[in-house]
């Protein structure tokens, strides 16, 4: 089975984010990058699927900057067989990213039997790439997957819907599965795994190599801003019973007219 995993490198959740000079993106120079946490579930599920299907390979694909390749190396150290990096320091939109991933998978010479991704990236929260990629490849996709069982190239997938209920899908390979927290417990990259990872193949392509150009851009980013700072909270003294009625009236008035939440 040819198993692909698409991963993204995102800023560490504890990193302080600031817009860059011209507001077209965030300042990336001082960011600590990590693998998108939802993508860790995708890598783990790919490795579990490989273990259950001898002779399978796991190829991990990423579109992004070349300066830090930790996320790809981590996936290789966890047990993926090879990696593909499509180099781009630009802030690509979802369409360009999906098209680049499609191009990279096709360029690998292997036909994807299954593609695992995270359900979303935690930086821009677009939730578009998995579905766009599946659409471009004309294969079915299921997202927010919390249960995955495979037998003979058919997947039984559980998907969380509102209220905690589960939908159950049956899809046949080839398919795209976008993973959610709770699907599995991602393994640690073992130290021998880390040492072996540096000898595993890592192919590098430009955007042009995989058929993506500026003409593919659907979204232009022009104005990144920090959210306005939250004003300090208001405190109301109402220990004295005599003033309680008027304090309650004041709070209700503020909630209605100022905060506009009721």
């Amino acid at each position: 089975m040819n198993i692909f995993v698409c991963i993204k490198q995102v800023p560490d959740t504890e990193t302080k984010i600031t817009p860059n000079g011209d507001g077209t993106y965030i300042e990336t120079s001082s960011i600590k990058w990590i693998m998108n946490p939802y993508d860790e579930f995708a890598v783990e599920q790919a490795l579990l699927t490989k273990q259950a299907n001898s002779g399978s390979t796991v190829t991990v694909v990423r579109v992004g900057g070349v300066k830090d390749t930790e996320a790809l190396r981590t996936a290789l150290a966890m047990g993926a067989d090879d990696a593909i990096l499509v180099e781009s320091d630009d802030n690509l939109d979802s369409f360009m990213t999906a098209k680049a991933l499609k191009g990279a998978i096709e360029k690998s010479g292997k036909t994807a039997d299954v593609i695992f991704t995270g359900k979303q990236a935690i930086d821009d929260d677009c939730l578009q790439v998995p579905q766009l990629l599946a659409g471009m490849l004309n294969i079915p996709s299921v997202s927010v997957v919390v249960g995955c069982e495979e037998a003979g190239g058919a997947f039984t997938l559980k998907r969380e819907v509102e209220g905690g209920a589960l939908e159950v899908y049956e899809v046949k390979s080839p398919a795209l599965i976008a993973c959610n927290k709770g699907l599995n417990t991602p393994r640690y990259a073992s130290l021998p795994g880390i040492m072996k990872a540096k000898r595993k193949p890592l192919a590098q392509h430009s955007l042009a190599d995989v058929g993506v150009s500026d003409a593919d851009r659907r979204v232009k980013y022009s104005n990144f801003q920090l959210p306005p700072e939250k004003p300090a909270g208001k405190k109301f003294e109402a220990m004295d019973e005599a003033v309680q009625a008027s304090v309650v009236a004041e709070v209700v008035g503020l909630l209605r007219n100022e905060a506009k939440v009721i």
Binding site: E70, R73, T74, A77, Y188, A189, S190, L191, P192, G193, I194, M195, A197, K198
Partner: protein, 382 residues
Amino acid sequence: MVNFDLSSEQKEIKEMAMKFAKNEMMPKAGEFDESGKMPMDILTKAWELGLVNTCIPPEFGGTGFTTLDSMIITEALAYGCLGMNTTLMANDLALLPIALGGNNEQKKRFLTPFTESYKIASFCLTEPGNGSDAAGLKTTIKEDGDHYVINGQKMWITNAGYADLFVIYCTTDPELKHKGISCIVLDDKNVAGLEIGAKEKKMGHRSSDTRAVTFTNVRIPKENLIGNLGDGWNLAKMTLDHSRPMVAASAVGGAQCALDHAVKYAKERVQFNKPIAGHQAIQLMIADMAMNVEASRLLVHKAAWLLDQGKSNTELASYAKAFAADKFMEVATDAVQIFGGYGYSNEYPVEKIMRDAKLIQIYEGTSQIQRLVIAKEIFSRS
């Protein structure tokens, strides 16, 4: 040329080991400190991930780490829990004499099983009457046909209650002092005459297993002797050149952890209407702590780097061990001070770290012995 950058693999090793320390060790450190039990699940998991026995060469199933790599791993594990790290680090201490001085047959017999499943080893040097004066040890070794016979008592032996393998320092004649010392491996824990004492109750490193070990006419095959009779002192010194920077690395990990706790708390704790991080009294303490942690780390890395370059590091190893241990004690004490009353309570993690810090100034050569080693190196040059 000087380069302070870790390689990309070393960064990944550090990241992975820190992840393990924070997710697997730290949440359980308090519980095992209190119960004093060996956290076998956590230790086994650490072994499965390749964090243990870093000294085993790749020809015998090891991963092939540099000395500097093993410092990075030890720092991270000690960040998670000093006690658990002592258990794991003691394996390297015991296996190092074999890795450094054993013949290929011995390395294959003794080291390779440690790469196949999680096994535990003990380094037996110290005796009830001989700590700092290690060359005065009294445990004897005598030839008897194709065996050696060992008699004597060892004290403060880490891992003794769980060990599958013991590395024993003994002497053909106590009068010969360091010239009479030999190093032999006991790989049969059920051998007649081996007696393991009760678990010691300690101030810190409480989850690690420390006991007395008594040998009464214990017979060990001759092929288990590392090197020749009388090579033991040299082997011990070579071992300490590796293990002292490692112990210093554990001090760095513990100190970094204490510092991180103190910084976080200083930003949260409000006194006189502002977080205490805004008070200069606290700022000065935090700055001193940070300087000392980084200076300790640099000494550790240099002591390890020298070994990786094939150069003598005895003096630097003692710089690192004495400095890092003493500064760890200061940093841990200051972390408790910054936490105030809360720091003295075991509801917060810094009191355990302070108790753990004390041992680093004592084991593997006290801070005072390190200074004597340093002075000896200095005066032997002129």
